[in-house]
Symmetry: C4
Subunit: 260 residues, 4 copies
Amino acid sequence: MQRRTFLAALSSTLAVLGRSAGEGRQVSSLPDPPIEDLVAANRILAMEGVLDGMGHVSVRHNSRANRFLLARSMVPELVAAADIMEYDLESNAVDARGRASYRERFIHSEIYKARPDVNAIVHCHTPSLIPFADSDVPLRAMYHMAAFVADGVPVFDIRQAAGITDLLVGDATLGRALAATLGGKSVALMRHHGAVVVASSIPNVVGRSVYLDLNARIQMQTVALGGKATYVDPAEAKLRMTDPNEYARAWELWKRKATR
Amino acid sequence: MQRRTFLAALSSTLAVLGRSAGEGRQVSSLPDPPIEDLVAANRILAMEGVLDGMGHVSVRHNSRANRFLLARSMVPELVAAADIMEYDLESNAVDARGRASYRERFIHSEIYKARPDVNAIVHCHTPSLIPFADSDVPLRAMYHMAAFVADGVPVFDIRQAAGITDLLVGDATLGRALAATLGGKSVALMRHHGAVVVASSIPNVVGRSVYLDLNARIQMQTVALGGKATYVDPAEAKLRMTDPNEYARAWELWKRKATR
Amino acid sequence: MQRRTFLAALSSTLAVLGRSAGEGRQVSSLPDPPIEDLVAANRILAMEGVLDGMGHVSVRHNSRANRFLLARSMVPELVAAADIMEYDLESNAVDARGRASYRERFIHSEIYKARPDVNAIVHCHTPSLIPFADSDVPLRAMYHMAAFVADGVPVFDIRQAAGITDLLVGDATLGRALAATLGGKSVALMRHHGAVVVASSIPNVVGRSVYLDLNARIQMQTVALGGKATYVDPAEAKLRMTDPNEYARAWELWKRKATR
Amino acid sequence: MQRRTFLAALSSTLAVLGRSAGEGRQVSSLPDPPIEDLVAANRILAMEGVLDGMGHVSVRHNSRANRFLLARSMVPELVAAADIMEYDLESNAVDARGRASYRERFIHSEIYKARPDVNAIVHCHTPSLIPFADSDVPLRAMYHMAAFVADGVPVFDIRQAAGITDLLVGDATLGRALAATLGGKSVALMRHHGAVVVASSIPNVVGRSVYLDLNARIQMQTVALGGKATYVDPAEAKLRMTDPNEYARAWELWKRKATR
């Protein structure tokens, strides 16, 4: 069923792309927007337990840097190409056609505004991250597969930013406060809520989200083991992270599994 | 096989409903009893690990507030429409037709009596809840997905209510004692036994049961991490819980997966 | 494939039973040996994570109390009816036909000799049990689904019984020592090895093995939670265990899932 | 799909073997290289959670002791016969045909050089091992299924061997340093990285990798339980490990599941 849904969505996407290629030669030299990879990312993140019924993943438009793509308000695991909407950096839908928007889309727009180097963003409630979001124990880089954690992981406390709220990042002001906490890092935890993960591409943001979860579990087990622990050095992490396609090998596997 | 069983049960239900619609026009304006959703809830709770071979979920009848629907005594994962029985608030089966009843159905009848706001109830033995039921560490709300926990989670100790028993809530007196411990809350833990979760609808009681399990695991991991932890504030939780269809998005996913 | 293997094995068993019924009327009044349930038990215990590639489950012959049935030396998950062998209480195969025997079959024969009330035995290496087998923290009954644990769980230390060995219960002397440690209980842990679980029937020994695993995990989580814990009282456990078919409901589910 | 890929790869392998058997009688008396088992090992280790998108497994060539077989640089779970490459003990590919090599293949070549008794090697990042790699708590043998752990498990710290690096064992010098840390043992942990496991055969190295993971989890749970623990004695382990086909029974199951 999933597969059929996916193929149907894919073929309708291809039809749309084919039509626009036929109708307007002037766009045919631009790369296609990465809709297929964004659909795959939604399904992979569900498959790997990073997202459940909630959470979302976006990508900056590949030819219009002030636009980003995000699914309509729905369960990530069921997202198909027809569910992908385009937003400007004020989180206005460019062509909603009646499709509802995620209330927390401001997380994405404000980070894309503040971080030109970021092309893909995940917002998640992964259970392994909450203990670090809710306590004063900092996340540390436990192994080379999560070397990016060595940069440090700030915690966004919405209560300090805006007092008593419903805990959701539901407007641009809160989105900006979260982006300010994130600064130049790869991850910010969100107290009593979850996390936001950013990267240069969809495969990288998916890879970081998956290995952030694994790294958090490993750190919790290391603490429970009770010995004296050591961590990846930031200088080691910097050397480790020179490959711009760091998670390409795993991405190939995940995409194949999530879309079959 | 599961799916075939489900479809068979569904079609026989539809046949029954069709016949009564044909035979008596006067009931055709009433909403159908939520049998399909109750069957789905049984399967979802098994799929998500909230229920195993034991435990049960009920719904208050949508047009007769002094009646509730509950499967015959059987494994939740295998429940089909034909297994759903109707009970009055003394836990008498309205039309048993030889079908056996759960011995602990008094949990449901006594809570429906005491709580007019409650329309759906889960009784479960979810492993992650037992450490909190068996110890003096209170369950706390760790993140916004389980904001309802911020109301507080009382523990029902059957030994204090009735001395040495077989630990089962097997009659109306014990059911009343459990309902009294629950009071106006969303959850009561049951010492050496499990928990009862209540809500305004089937999707909400299923959502609360799933996220109660996740919240309990997150709290155990937070404690093991050893730092200073903070929790969702009751005022934040109150603002977070204004959506009456809080778990609608996840429910759509769960129902699709559990009934295919 | 699994299912086909199972059906093939089943039909050959039925053929054998049919033939003997035709050839000798005098045995037709005896109940069939519970081969089908023993095959199911092997698969259920693998499915539920109690057994992995190793471990075994046996049943006392239902009409010859000095005989028991046990698979040939093989992986539990792949056991079919044709793999079931019959043994006497000295662990001699009655009709080996070239089939190899488990080296640790003496666990079964010596317990059947010492315990007339026992009709089914599981020997397993379930990971959740090893921490209790290897340490001085006793297993305690955490909830009513594992009430039998309240009787107490002795630990068999083969080093105390026989000094330095290969840790396997590979002869009758070691089997007798293990049976002596078990005494009248339902479970004995085996230091640096695993456990043995006994009961009055196949469904009960499977149910106990599954809930022993859950109970062990719950106890470990309760300890990690750090509060003051309480346990099921032996008097409560005794009242809870009066149902001779305690795990019948779960057995129905497990058997359906494991043999489809 | 996986199965079809596997069968296709297998049949092309058989075609190749058939052709060489037809073309040159002089090689027909040599045993076939264990390509099928190496493909199965890749899939088993992914299925059992030892490897994820990264990591690798190799086997020494069965008729040329100065050669070893290793997949091209790719995800283990997708490895097919056509992906297997042959290397000399300097990690040069004998017949690359454009296929990329794992950067860390020097782990394999340097251990094969130093250890004539080793015929199969796994390099993995199994999450349960990292807490022991990153802390000063030594891995101990918790039960007879992982008796080989009783020999002791050294930790390779690349920072001590080579200062600040990208943490990868990317050349022969680092491979030699790792082999020196391994010495005559079965396992070496790699700080902030993972582990290397060695054995006399593919089934044994797979079995050791799977039970090393289980043993690590058991030890972490035993520590968390807080009591006084005991461990398998090296003399017991030595008696336990006399069977050269120790994991044959589990291997049969794993291979059947991973290649269907």
